[in-house]
């Protein structure tokens, strides 16, 4: 089981990488969803 020690560079890097992945993936999904709404065909 993981117990993070943020005073260690390795643990900080693990957290930064995970955060970067989440922000990039979910941020991209949100951007696409927003643009789908914006490009909704007008009746």
């Amino acid at each position: 089981m993981i117990h993070l020690d943020m005073s260690k560079m390795a643990d900080r890097h693990l957290v930064i990488a995970y955060a970067a992945i989440l922000i990039a993936q979910f941020g991209y999904a949100a951007w696409v969803a927003y643009n789908i709404k914006r490009n909704r065909p007008t009746p």
Binding site: H13, I21, I36, N39
Partner: protein, 242 residues
């Protein structure tokens, strides 16, 4: 093709399934045994590897879309541009995955290797792959030749050639990057079985999520194409002020 309502329902289900799979993956990664040599940073395998596997899988979706576009462009234009939408969706998700894959690799490398980057064959070919798909997207964005779909489809074919080179680089060369964990033919290689649940659940979850992103981006590209088509039709139908 499924009807739009069915497609939307499937997409929502897929989204929910991906989130559940990602949550399970995270839970298993948190309780998995810690790598004795690397410590906590060894858990990067649950995120870096799925990003890179996606980055090497989605180019094939892009390639299929591009080849289908080239095949249909003089036979069935509507079908051709639908495949082009698939190709651009896959290319964007490829760039996304490779970007975070390379970044997470660098964050992993610094504490383990002592360096952020080295120009070994795996890292260099992977960076080249990223550059190829970035250039694919830039050509689509800025080309004004009128042949942008065809041009980008051809770039896609060339870019896809780099995928097997990236995959084989750790087999062909002695690299700083670790040698392959799976399918290496080396009896000493492999992942400890206690790490399998966390590794494979994260791999499956991120691939599921990646294909969801491609489907979502495909919907957006089709809407843009339809809006563009409607604008052209409107321009043709509207009499010019003469």
């Amino acid at each position: 093709m499924p009807r739009p309502q069915t497609f939307r329902t499937l997409l929502w289900l897929w989204f929910a399934l991906s989130l559940i799979a990602l949550a399970i993956g995270l839970r298993l990664a948190l309780i998995a045994p810690i790598d004795a040599a690397q410590g906590n940073i060894g858990s990067m395998i649950y995120y870096h590897v799925p990003m890179q596997v996606g980055g090497l899988t989605f180019p094939f979706v892009n390639l299929i879309g591009s080849l289908a576009y080239l095949y249909y462009r003089s036979r069935n234009l509507q079908r051709a541009i639908a495949f082009d939408a698939l190709a651009v969706a896959a290319a964007e998700v490829t760039v996304l995955n490779l970007s975070v894959g390379i970044l997470s690799g660098m964050l992993w490398a610094k504490p383990v290797w002592g360096i952020w980057w080295t120009w070994d064959e795996r890292l260099t070919t992977c960076l080249l792959l990223w550059l190829l798909y970035v250039s694919y997207l830039l050509v689509r964005r800025f080309s004004s030749t009128g042949q942008v779909y065809t041009l980008s489809a051809v770039i896609s074919v060339f870019a896809a050639i780099d995928v097997p080179i990236v995959y084989m680089s750790t087999r062909w060369y002695r690299t700083q990057h670790p040698s392959p964990v799976f399918f290496s033919g080396n009896p000493g290689a492999g992942l400890d079985k206690s790490l399998y649940p966390a590794f494979f659940s994260n791999l499956a979850a991120w691939l599921l999520w990646g294909f969801f992103l491609i489907a979502l981006r495909y919907v957006l590209e089709r809407r843009r194409q339809q809006a563009q088509h409607a604008a052209v039709q409107h321009a043709i139908a509207t009499p010019e002020a003469q």
